[in-house]
Amino acid sequence: MAMLGAINPVLMAGLNGDDSWRLKDYVARGGYEQLKRILQTGMTQEDVIGEVKKSVLRGRGGAGFPTGLKWSFMPRSFPGDKYVVCNTDEGEPGTFKDRDIMRYNPHAVIEGMIIAGFAMGANRGYNYVHGEIWEIYKRFEEALDEARAAGLLGQNILGTQFGFELFAHHGYGAYICGEETALLESIEGKKGQPRFKPPFPASFGLYGRPTTINNTETFASIPFILKMGGEEFLNLGKPNNGGTKLFSVSGHVNRPGNYEIPLGTPFSTLLEMCGGMRGGRKLKAVIPGGSSAPVMPADVIMDCTMDYDSISKGGSMLGSGAVIVMDETVCMVKALERLSFFYHEESCGQCTPCREGTAWMYKVVHRIENGQGKPEDLDLLNSVLGNIAGRTICALGDAAAFPVQSFLKHFGSEFEYHIEHKTCLVPKDVQWAGSGFHKIPA
């Protein structure tokens, strides 16, 4: 099934699992109507961008930058090739929404990208698909073939002067390619090493040409925004936080999975939709926006609503909407050790603070977890992360530093206990008890 639950779904409305992804199904749901309307009723680029601006659709990849504004940065009349690139390199631990969008509603992504191409005067697009989801990539290629056969891609789309080519590019295992300039480097056939900005992709992007990069969910939302109108989409959510959003809930809930809910829905409601805490255990902490977002203690997140502003006020980031739920049996040192390893492993190795610093942080956390911690280690970690954050070419340095900083801030006592007693604060017999195999109740 596409969704385990939803409130007022937009992107995932009317889907019934693996059978509804084909072009005919999408068309039956009203798909490609917006593209037709735009091309056949003489809508202008400004009209389209204006509607997107009205919706206050914020980038669904993690940074939450307003999409309409981003599109307006594109030098539309700049002669020569311009590109629209979709970021389906979904590798942020906890995030698995784009995979389901691509699996169940790929044509929404395609239509969204074509419309984006029209709005920004781009003639070519690429969708960069996470390496680990080969089957989804193949399905997307099939969907592209369907769209091409139907005259929705290529030259003279729907008999008009507008042409747009779209291809899928398959990643091969590098978290960093979710960073938009690393992604561009990767499409160019290089290592995924982020570029220093400025220049920004809007002026110097793929192959040095003006390029706009958006997340899969962002593009998929476009046809629906045009269908219902920007204002109605905005009103689904709350001011400055337009629309519904997919939340990927993982960890210690009874029913992990994707949930499409309006922005502004209370966290407690989402938790309920997920069937509550597994085994009735107590909520300890939540990482609300993918592993790079600061961790929030239970009492803080329980007071938050799921939108950019509320989560930000609570000291974290909505990010990609990946909600990692942890119960009282989790050892926060071990949890951080795994995350620190991830950032160290996925550092591209290009710039000094990230390459050296992420490895150093992992080694120290690893030592603490293994009973070799020293009293000065917590100060050391804080100092090292301070030397990484804000000093690197891309945001991976920050992404690696924030978890360490927030874990130490909110759960410092667990780390101190580890250092002092060479063992975990969570009693041995319950430690990690909630983390075994779990069958999702029907």
């Binding site: 960093i176 492993e345 710039c351 390459r355 120290v364 301070g386 000093r391």
Partner: protein
């Protein structure tokens, strides 16, 4: 212009400047590793983080564009904290093995760790170890744990050398610099990576562990190895040359030198040096005192002149001899009544003699290459003959210059070529004629007489069109164009093309003092470099030249030397060949042991001093010639310094020589006929065998460019010979023959085989661009 303030100092900088550019303009030092003015911006080391007003985070000076009114603080708490943080990171996995590191004393990491590093490390974890790599005889990558991943070496390969041989593999802290599966780094510019490496990761293999940098004295010099005249710093210890580095001169060599220039110094300290004058008496070689040797030489020459006239003696000099040496040698010959002197040892067509308007030269300054809209290079193994000119053209081609090549070999020049034609040497003039005709047709002017039959093709049209567009264009004649049998025609055709298109005509020049040799008038009034051997003389003076390797056709040369009554060799080296044909060998100084002057291809007069004492009894050549003039009782040899000689030749205080002119008077176009039916030889002069120094440097001999010549030919040619690639073939020219391995090379034109000259294994063969017989061995 933008206004910026750095640490309270104000400056105006051009639009597009970075904070680093502005800081350098203001003389404010910002620490850095990965930044290099000649390379693309990587911004990866993060050492240059500075505080910028209103920016929440420190920004890298190298990559941050200046905005108007920007205020930058390089020493604020925020900036210094960021810089120190980066330094700590750079040092945590660095081995800190300075006492045993070759870079010690000249290491940027070492220097900066003094300023920005902590007294004690907070890093107590295990250090990361990187395995050593073997990348060939020149660069040592023995201690790669020292690498700080600045990627300067990688970018140099991609951007300057034009070939990516080093890369940074893997990711995260496991990133490491390497070649593809342990291959060697073969670029002819590779040694520059050693200079670029800010730490001791890439060091010089030949120099390793021979001296500490603070023991070395730095002396200025000028490279004799190619026509650019690269400026050098020669580092010496106890009167030995220990190392050669580039001396930055943006107008000449920028900050680069070729590997030949960097590593040839090995020859200076080799056992092959001649350290005492030697004379052959009764078939036995004996070391003698200078006065004995000079008397012997003077008497021998005087006797020949007395008995047979001045025309019975001839002198052949190297093009890398100094202006002073060449001038005095010419004066000596003239004094003896001989007009037989030449330095154009590889030339076979002397048809422009007495018709040239001046000394052949580049036709422009080297620094102007970057401004060209189009350039056509005719007859050149460009990359290997002129590594730094090729480098300039490579950079130009990356911007807008349309660089075309019309030559006899399809070697990859690592330059984005606009047009390219590869033809047999015998067809080179026809191919250039086609471009001339195409240019005339495109411009709508009359096709010059004699070119009616030139067959214009699409490529020649395209090249011609490129030379008609834009402001600045040039036609450059390379070494093949100078050395092949149609040199005169090629020169005349180039001049015609220049006249039609408005392009400047220039020569790339064979050696370090080719222009100077012309200006020193080391040119024949009678027999030229070919004639003086074709009609054997009784006496020869060979100055710095090794005719068995340096001549267009060594066969008649060696025969003439064999029959001569007296052969005087002046050379820094005692070569086995010279011991065969010479009667006296006089040890004259290489460029490091004498003062002198080279005039480079753009006409730049570059004088230099000796950097070490002459080895043994070696004496500066100009002094030897002066004394010899005196011993011969010739007038006008009373010079007291090399500067006096130079000023007489070039005028005093001259930066650029006068009398440079590529014009020709009285040459008519007569295109060669159809190609001969037999096989033709194409002979390149391999870069590391091009002169007596390079060919005696062991490290250079071990490079990919140092391998012994093979016979290279296209598949059809090999099939016609009846061999496959890898088979042995017997190669014959004149009365010389040898056995070589045949190799498939589809870039060799049909009807041709490529067999390099200047190498002992092919020295017995004949004309560089002549008929050749090849059969299965």
């Amino acid at each position: 212009m933008l206004e910026i303030e750095i640490d309270g100092k104000k400056a105006q900088v051009p639009d597009g400047s970075t904070v680093m550019d502005a800081a350098q303009q203001l003389g404010v030092y910002i620490p850095h590793f990965c930044y290099h003015k000649k390379l693309s911006i990587a911004a990866n080391c993060r050492m240059c983080l500075v505080q910028v007003e209103k920016a929440p985070k420190p920004l890298p000076a190298c990559a941050t564009p200046v905005t108007n009114g920007m205020k930058v603080f390089t020493h604020s708490d925020l900036a210094v904290k960021a810089q120190k943080g980066v330094m700590e990171f750079l040092l945590i996995n660095h081995p800190l093995d300075c006492p045993i590191c070759d870079q010690g004393g000249e290491c940027q990491l070492q220097d900066m760790s003094v300023g920005y590093g902590p007294m004690q490390s907070r890093y107590t974890e295990e250090k990361h170890v990187v395995f050593h790599k073997d990348v060939g005889p020149l660069i040592s990558m023995q201690e790669m744990s020292r690498c700080i991943h600045c990627t300067r070496c990688v970018r140099f390969g991609q951007e300057v050398a034009g070939i990516m041989e080093l890369g940074m593999a893997n990711r995260n802290m496991h990133s490491e610099i390497m070649t593809f599966v342990g291959r060697s780094v073969d670029s002819e510019l590779s040694g520059n990576m050693i200079d670029l490496c800010p730490v001791g990761a890439l060091t010089s293999k030949p120099f390793r562990y021979t001296a500490r940098s603070w023991e070395l004295q730095r002396r200025k010099s000028v490279s004799p190895h190619d026509s650019v005249g690269a400026n050098l710093v020669v580092q010496v210890k106890h009167d030995n040359v220990m190392r050669v580095l580039p001396r930055e001169n943006e107008a000449v060599n920028e900050c680069w030198i070729s590997d030949k220039e960097r590593f040839s110094y090995q020859a200076l300290n080799s056992d092959a040096r001649l350290t005492k004058p030697m004379v052959k008496q009764g078939g036995e070689w004996r070391e003698v005192e200078w006065n004995v040797a000079l008397d012997y030489v003077a008497h021998g020459l005087k006797d020949i002149v007395r008995d047979h006239g001045g025309d019975a003696v001839a002198a052949l000099a190297a093009q890398h001899a100094t202006v002073e040496e060449l001038f005095l040698l010419g004066k000596l010959m003239k004094g003896m009544g001989s007009g037989n002197i030449d330095f154009r040892t590889r030339q076979s067509d002397f048809g422009t003699d007495f018709k040239r308007a001046g000394a052949p030269w580049l036709g422009m300054r080297l620094a102007e290459i970057k401004d060209l809209d189009a350039a056509l290079v005719v007859g050149s193994f460009l990359r290997k003959d002129h590594p730094l000119i090729a480098q300039r053209l490579r950079q130009a081609a990356k911007k807008w210059t349309k660089v075309s090549l019309l030559s006899v070999a399809g070697d990859d020049q690592l330059i984005k070529l606009y047009g390219s034609l590869t033809v047999a040497p015998s067809q080179l003039a026809l191919a250039l004629a086609a471009v001339v005709r195409a240019a005339a047709e495109a411009k709508g002017v009359a096709v010059p007489a004699g070119l009616e039959n030139a067959a214009v093709c699409d490529e020649s049209r395209k090249i011609a069109a490129s030379l008609l567009e834009g402001e600045k264009r040039a036609i450059f004649l390379g070494n093949v164009a100078t050395q092949c049998a149609d040199a005169t025609q090629l020169h005349a055709l180039a001049n015609q093309l220049g006249a039609i298109t408005g392009a400047t005509v220039g020569f790339l020049g064979e050696s370090g003092n080719t222009v100077g040799a012309h200006l020193a008038w080391a040119l024949p009034s009678q027999a030229n470099a070919r004639q003086m051997f074709a009609q054997p003389r009784r006496g020869y003076v060979l100055y710095g030249v090794e005719p068995e390797l340096d001549c267009a056709n060594p066969q008649p040369v060696m025969a003439a030397l064999k029959q001569a009554a007296m052969v005087v060799v002046m050379s820094p080296f005692k070569s086995p060949a010279a011991l065969e044909y010479a009667d006296a060998i006089l040890p004259v100084a290489p460029f490091t042991e004498t003062s002198g002057t080279f005039v480079n291809i753009e006409g730049r007069v570059q004088s230099f001093n000796g950097v070490v004492k002459p080895r043994g009894e070696t004496r500066p050549g100009w002094k030897v010639l002066r004394v010899l003039g005196n011993v011969l009782n010739l007038d006008g040899f009373a010079y007291t310094s090399s500067e006096q000689v130079r000023d007489e030749v070039l005028g005093a205080g001259v930066e650029f020589a006068a009398a440079l002119d590529n014009g020709l008077n009285g040459v008519t176009i007569a295109l060669p006929g159809a190609a001969a039916s037999g096989l033709q030889r194409i002979a390149d002069v391999p870069i590391h065998f091009a002169d007596p120094l390079a060919r005696r440097a062991p490290a250079l001999a071990q490079t990919a460019d140092g391998v012994a010549p093979t016979l290279r030919a296209a598949a059809a040619t090999l099939a016609a010979i009846g061999v496959e690639s890898g088979a042995s073939v017997r190669v014959r020219q004149g009365h010389g023959e040898t056995v070589l391995v045949a190799r498939l090379d589809d870039k060799v034109p049909a009807g041709c085989v490529r067999v390099a000259a200047a190498h002992p294994t092919t020295a017995m063969l004949g004309e560089m661009f002549g008929d050749i017989t090849v059969e299965r061995a």
